[in-house]
Symmetry: C2
Subunit: 202 residues, 2 copies
């Protein structure tokens, strides 16, 4: 059984979190999902829904998989040291760390992506880059894998990245089965990214 | 300002709900989303996350838009009369009623789809049909519109349907803008459905 910590903070982007959780959640015999946050109270999404917290950050930083959503609540401009320190601790144990959308900017602020390739939301790409001045930002990619770090483009791209992680962990047949069951048109190519061009990045 | 009631019940399918809420939620100047359930306590999704309830069914059935997810918790085999009666009441006021995945089977049990065209999850298509013996079930469709009723195929199909509803309510430019912002590869054709063939329905 693998453990997955899904980090939430006020105004996290709804689909950044729940797209991946739909995919990983289908493997409930293989993966135990824990929603983690700084405080124990329910946390509001960007779209106003409140989600319960299973464990606070201080309770554990030991998980196999870490999922970091983005969204307008992403604590990057006013750095949240509790969240930053937790990510740095969690990285030591984690097999894979995944960041969706501007969650990549948050991950970059920890320094863990320094010298690594990563991507982020394409609409907010220029805004995101300064949070990781030593990151090799990839302008055109649905998602990027570098070592244990997976970073995806904006919002729905997290679903494609999650299926790639599932394929890597449990085999391609398992990932294809989940895509089929969720009737999801999985973009299997990490370089597929029409949105980069739209935002003038290529 | 339009109002949208998102119905939840224990073990609703995560993406059936949060895919559409990501799309409608981006219009927070135009649409007010209310999570509704039979009881006031937080409701667990199919994948173990608890979501807070804004209003109980008995508090109101007057909303412009109704969203009904599916999932293995869909109360169809053991009919839930509180939910059934609420849908029948809500339909009288609603401009559009949307059902995602096996939420279509739930909507069918109310009789409101009798004599109408509708679709549902393709993997569970044969299982769903008897819940609406007088429904004209469409075997190959991403989503189907008949009058005020929109029904979609499984899980991720709800996102495509939601964008079609947004296009109808607020114009195509608005729907395209949301698809772009969420970096979502919107299937604009309601007849696009490779999953029907996979499940031997065509």
């Amino acid at each position: 059984m693998k453990t997955l910590a899904a980090l939430v903070f006020p105004e996290f982007q709804t689909l950044d979190l729940f797209g991946p959780l739909e995919m990983f959640g289908d493997l409930d015999d293989e993966i135990e999902v824990t929603v983690v946050a700084e405080k124990a109270e329910p946390v509001v999404s960007r779209h106003g829904q409140y989600i319960s917290v299973d464990k606070t950050l201080s309770q554990s930083s030991t998980y196999d998989l870490i999922l970091i959503p983005g969204g307008r609540g992403t604590p990057v401009e006013n750095k949240n040291s509790a969240i930053n320190d937790w990510i740095i601790e969690a990285e030591k144990h984690a097999q894979f760390i995944m960041a969706v959308c501007t969650g990549g900017a948050l991950l970059a602020t920890t320094g863990l992506l320094d010298g690594r390739r990563a991507t982020t939301n394409k609409q907010d790409f220029i805004w995101s880059k300064p949070f990781g001045p030593c990151v090799d930002w990839v302008t055109q990619a649905r998602w990027v894998k570098d070592g244990k770090f997976y970073t995806s483009s904006g919002v729905s791209a997290g679903i494609d990245m999650s299926l790639a992680v599932i394929s890597s962990l449990f085999g391609n047949e398992t990932a294809e089965k989940i895509a089929l069951e969720t009737e999801y048109d999985w973009h299997r190519d990490p370089d597929w990214d029409p949105f980069a061009k739209h935002h003038g990045l290529v």
